[in-house]
């Protein structure tokens, strides 16, 4: 049996897997083509009729394939159409024709409704309907008996086919047993039934076409949504094949004449496009870097550790783009098209430093040749346009600086919004317990140790939740706890202040060292600032951890406090560093003034000496290395940031190696000869510290944003760092960390990290923008030298590169009279959006309440209905014995309907009324039991419509009656 199933699935693929693509398209195309051919043949006229019939017979003999049926139906359709065409020729009158059409339609719709319910009756009725149709036509065009005959032939054929189809469908229904599917299947079948009949005559009214289209769309939707259905694959395949067959069969019928080909083409293209999209999607997922690595980690450590690596990868992506911007638009153009090294003073190492410019220690410090290169701000020339491309270097530099920040804002905010969307309105606490039970297991956990930790953490969370719910928790000594908490916060504040002062002190000291000259000091003294900052970043969190033990908070709250404190520490450090830097900038600017003065005197003396010595001789050329120059504070800032990043990276890696790897090695191997169990006891293996690592990453990124304007190489460095740490940390986690004791879920913290990133982004752009806007650039280095302010470059470009009117427009647009209202408008918009979102939230709550009350009401109603239904059932049982007889009569009468319509009809009506009389009184029926319908005056019963087949007790829709009105009038 399994073997069989396998084979069927194979067949499935062959026949109609949609995504298999080409085959399908070819086959559908062939079908289309065939149809066209048939139509062409038809058009040749009566002469070919016989031939066609022969052809049909031939085809019919091909063991009953579905295509065969289809073709047969097509032929029939053609016949119908031709006949109608002839009708026109015979000029029976347009109006009548329309009537006829309407009649056909009504007959069909009526049939459609019935046939879902009773297959047998349906068959009979079809034949009957067929006959009626024929009669109607026959009345009108008394000519060509031959045609009539043919029509009948076709009608029978169609009827037969339909029975076949019905059987098939029955079979299908038997196969598919799942309840949800059955409902959908049935819907679809219903529609299919109607389609089948509607297709017979070629002239489909627009209404019917619409219906057909809807059905096809429905199927298509089913195919598309198939992936989202929780069925087993086999069932999916069966459904897919069926709906595909359907779509293929009837898609072509939607277009007409010339449009049909176009339609088929469109469908084919849509299919191709979908296939392409699918492939592209697969390709995209295959292209995501480190996916397998992260998945592996995820399965060992749960999603929270993996979330760090996903965050790291995301950061890597952003830095790649920043790197692309700075590298492609700033560094490469300057290196290729700008003046070469050594051509002007700012691009040359000064004479005094030349000797040591290539030393590793100097280069490691980003001095020497590294300082006088594209890596730093000072190297760039203030030439307005460089190279044969007339590349506007200063403008590009400025715009890239602004663009990096703008892009980062955009990305962070967009990601935050998306995360918020994903988590939805998840902040409500209404399903606390249910979520804990239903969603707390992390199915990715594949490691017994992690699983044990998870069990423990789930248990504690349950217990905590229960305790919280009971609210019977009594603080035994609330004063002690309060005191301890205040004490802890005091201690933390002391730590923060201390670390801030330490950094400030160190920075000031390093300035003094710098003034003395670097060579006189040791390595430690030169790198003091960075080392102190890194060490503080390493040890303070540990200290905080110890202190937080005093507070006796809930672990989640404790974690948040911890994160907040570390954040404050890092921020404090960063800002102390920046303030110290600002001091240094001011110092440098003082120095610059002196240098500027000196230079003028130097130049004057040079000039004077040359003039005095030899007034007619050529002006002596001075080596650019000898020209005295200013301190260039921008490069200094850039260097500081680069050094900071480097030392930060180094400390991270070294901590990783010592704290994790060495510890793991020691614990593992010393355990054999130690007096206590190292693995379970004190040192143990380290856990992966998600929050600390994320914070480190965030602050690192903040420094990049801050420094990138003055050191274009920073994004490149950061990309390198992130790349290395991805591999290093992946390795370290897998080889020397143990799963966390407190396994917590990642998703809740995702947006928390993002929010921190946004705060850091804002805080780091502040000083950068402040320096750009307020401090005048150095006079002899960088792309903006000689300008009063850096952003003057925009104005310059506007004036010289754009037409006059543009700058006029720009200046008038930037006047406060326009800007202020605009800002006001934005504020108003924000206010409006906020208030709407608030009202939405309220509406949400309201709806929830409503839903709940409605549910309760429904429940009550259902109970009442059930009671009534029971009573009804008893009565019906009594009635059943009496009805049985008459039911038989009814069936019989249905069968000889064709023979005697009028009588049958009256009998059925009689029956209907009779039953109605016997039925229990009205209220039961109104209770939503649609088993019986209200009596309908049957004043149209003498018409030759297909109506009499209605079983008593089926609701009749109003549509057919509406169509029948004209036919009534006709009689």
């Amino acid at each position: 049996m399994p073997r069989d199933s396998l084979i069927t699935s194979e067949n499935d693929i062959d026949i109609g897997l949609e995504f298999a693509g080409d085959e399908d398209e070819v086959s559908s195309f062939q079908e289309e083509h065939e149809r066209e051919r048939h139509r062409a043949k038809r058009r040749d006229g009566d002469r070919e009729k016989k031939k066609r019939r022969k052809g049909r017979r031939r085809r019919a003999s091909r063991a009953g394939e579905r295509e065969d049926e289809l073709q047969a139906r097509h032929e029939k359709r053609e016949a119908g159409r031709r006949k109608r065409a002839k009708n026109y020729q015979e000029s029976e009158g347009r109006e009548r024709d329309e009537e006829e059409q309407a009649q056909i339609k009504t007959g069909k719709t009526a049939k459609t409704k019935k046939n879902i319910k009773n297959e047998k009756t349906r068959k009979v009725e079809q034949e009957e309907g067929e006959a009626e149709e024929r009669n109607a036509k026959g009345k009108k065009k008394h000519g060509s008996a031959k045609k009539e005959e043919k029509d009948e032939d076709g009608g029978k054929c169609a009827a037969k086919e339909k029975t076949q189809e019905v059987k098939k469908k029955k079979h299908k229904r038997v196969v598919e047993t799942s309840s949800e599917q059955e409902t959908s299947e049935e819907d679809v079948n219903e529609e299919e039934d109607s389609e089948e009949k509607e297709l017979r005559p070629e002239s489909l009214s627009p209404e019917e076409l619409e219906k057909l289209k809807e059905a096809v769309d429905e199927r298509k939707k089913l195919i598309q949504g198939l992936r989202g259905k929780p069925w087993s694959m086999k069932k999916k395949l069966v459904t897919l094949r069926e709906s595909q067959e359907f779509v293929e069969k009837y898609e072509g019928a939607l277009g007409k004449g010339k449009g049909r080909k176009l339609y088929a083409y469109k469908v084919m293209m849509a299919k191709k496009w979908m296939k392409f999209q699918r492939d592209f999607e697969n390709f995209k997922t295959a292209c995501i870097p480190w996916e397998m690595k992260i998945k592996e980690i995820e399965s060992h450590f749960g999603s929270s550790v993996a979330s760090y690596f996903i965050f790291l990868r995301w950061m890597y992506g952003i830095n790649m783009i920043l790197f692309g911007l700075t590298f492609g638009l700033v560094m490469v153009p300057e290196a290729l098209m700008g003046r070469p090294y050594g051509s002007i003073p700012r691009k040359t190492v000064p004479r005094a430093e030349e000797a040591s410019a290539m030393d590793f220690a100097v280069l490691w410090d980003f001095g020497g040749y590294a300082q006088y290169s594209v890596l730093f701000y000072g190297y760039y020339n203030n030439q307005r346009a460089i190279g044969w491309l007339k590349f506007r270097m200063p403008l590009s530099y400025f715009l890239v600086g602004v663009g990096t920040v703008a892009y980062s804002y955009m990305v962070v905010i967009r990601t935050m919004a998306r995360n918020a969307n994903e988590s939805g309105v998840g902040d409500d606490n209404s399903f606390n317990f249910s979520w804990k039970t239903f969603t707390s297991w992390d199915y990715l956990i594949g490691n017994p140790e992690t699983a044990d930790n998870k069990f423990a953490s789930i248990t504690t969370s349950f217990k905590e939740a229960i305790l919280e719910e009971q609210e019977s928790r009594k603080d035994d000594n609330i004063h002690l706890t309060r005191f301890l908490r205040v004490l802890a916060n005091f201690l933390v504040l002391c730590c923060l202040a201390g670390s801030g002062y330490l950094i400030y002190f160190v920075v000031r000291r390093s300035q003094k060292f710098a003034l003395d000259g670097l060579d006189t000091h040791t390595w430690w003294e030169r790198n003091e600032v960075n080392m102190v900052m890194s060490l503080l970043g390493m040890f303070c969190p540990m200290l905080f951890d110890v202190i937080s033990a005093l507070e006796n908070y809930h672990p989640r709250v404790a974690l948040q406090w911890q994160l907040g404190r570390i954040f404050a520490l890092f921020l404090g450090n960063l800002y102390t560093f920046i303030i110290a830097l600002m001091d240094e900038i001011n110092l440098k600017r003082e120095e610059e003034k002196i240098v500027k003065f000196n230079i003028t005197t130097w130049e004057a003396s040079l000039y004077n000496s040359t003039v005095s010595e030899n007034s007619t001789g050529p002006p002596i050329t001075i080596q650019p290395a000898d020209v005295p120059r200013g301190p260039c504070w921008e490069t200094m800032v850039g260097q500081e940031f680069v050094r900071l990043i480097i030392s930060d990276t180094m400390t991270t890696y070294i901590t990783l190696l010592i704290g994790d790897f060495l510890r793991a090695v020691l614990v593992r191997f010393l355990n054999y000869c130690w007096c206590w169990d190292l693995e379970a006891g004190f040192p143990s293996y380290s856990e992966f510290d998600v929050s600390g690592n994320v914070l480190g990453l965030i602050f690192n990124q903040g420094m990049i944003w801050m420094g990138a304007f003055y050191a274009p190489c920073l994004p490149a460095l950061n990309v390198l760092r992130l790349h290395v740490s991805m591999y290093l940390q992946c390795w370290a986690v897998m080889c020397c960390n143990v799963p966390q004791e407190r396994v917590f879920k990642a998703s809740g913290s995702n947006n928390f990290y993002m929010a921190m990133l946004l705060v850091i982004l804002f805080l780091s752009t502040l000083p950068a923008i402040y320096t750009i806007v307020t401090i005048p650039p150095s006079f002899d280095c960088g792309p903006f030298s000689g300008k009063k302010r850096m952003f003057d470059v925009i104005q310059e470009t506007l004036e010289s590169d754009f037409p006059a009117w543009f700058s006029k427009v720009f200046s008038s647009a930037s006047n406060p009279g326009l800007v202020l209202p605009f800002i006001l408008l934005m504020v108003l918009a924000i206010y409006y959006l906020q208030s709407t979102s608030k009202s939405y939230k309220e509406a949400n709550v309201e709806l929830k309440k409503k839903l709940q009350t409605q549910n309760e009401e429904n429940k009550k109603k259902n109970k009442r209905a059930a009671l009534k239904a029971q009573m009804d059932l008893e009565e019906a049982r009594k009635a059943a014995s009496q009805t049985a007889e008459q039911q038989k009569n009814n069936n019989a009468s249905l069968q000889d309907q064709e023979a005697d319509e009028e009588e049958n009809h009256s009998s059925s009506q009689r029956l209907y009324h009779g039953k109605n009389r016997r039925n229990p009184p009205a209220p039961v029926r109104e209770q939503g039991l649609p088993a019986t319908r209200a009596p309908v005056p049957r004043n149209y019963h003498h018409g030759n419509h297909g109506a009499p087949g209605y079983l008593p007790g089926f609701p009749r829709q109003s549509e057919p009656r509406m169509h029948r009105v004209p036919s009534l009038q006709r009689h």
Binding site: R3, L6, L17, M233, S299, Y443, T459, I466, E469
Partner: protein, 182 residues
Amino acid sequence: MGTTASQLGKDLLSEYQVSAQNAHKRFTELLTKDEKDLPNTRVSMERVLTLPELKSNPFRKRICYVFSTSEQKDGSLTFEDFLDLLSAFSDSATLEIKSHYAFRIFDFDDDGTLDCGDLEKLVNCLTGETDETRLTTEEMRQLINNILEESDIDKDGTVNLSEFQHVISRSPDFVSSFKIVL
């Protein structure tokens, strides 16, 4: 050797939302020598559960039962069942699929609703086998009452599929954690 995959064909495999090559490799590792030659064998639940990805999952048996198409209800899986399992637990499966299967996994007595017995078993699975992590009866009662209070919207004493899906759909991290990666 490897006849199953070749019979299934490339197109079918693309229907499954997992890297089927890998899955097939892992699946054949579970088969014994002579079983490998048979085209379509069932792997007994015990051997499926030796997979490290399932070994530490408290719902491992339920998962096998839910995805098994075996008539003996023994939880044995064919390769197709196995792929169904993986695709339901894959990244690309939608919330609807995932919540549907989660419901069936949690429905220990297969009666279509989560009643008190199911919930108790579920909680016991989550808290692990050891005694120190177990909840006391009082705690259990409280917990189940709370769960029913929250998610049993129609107040019939059980959680049905739509209620379950309603609860799950609001959960921020169900989709990200209802995953199994080979």
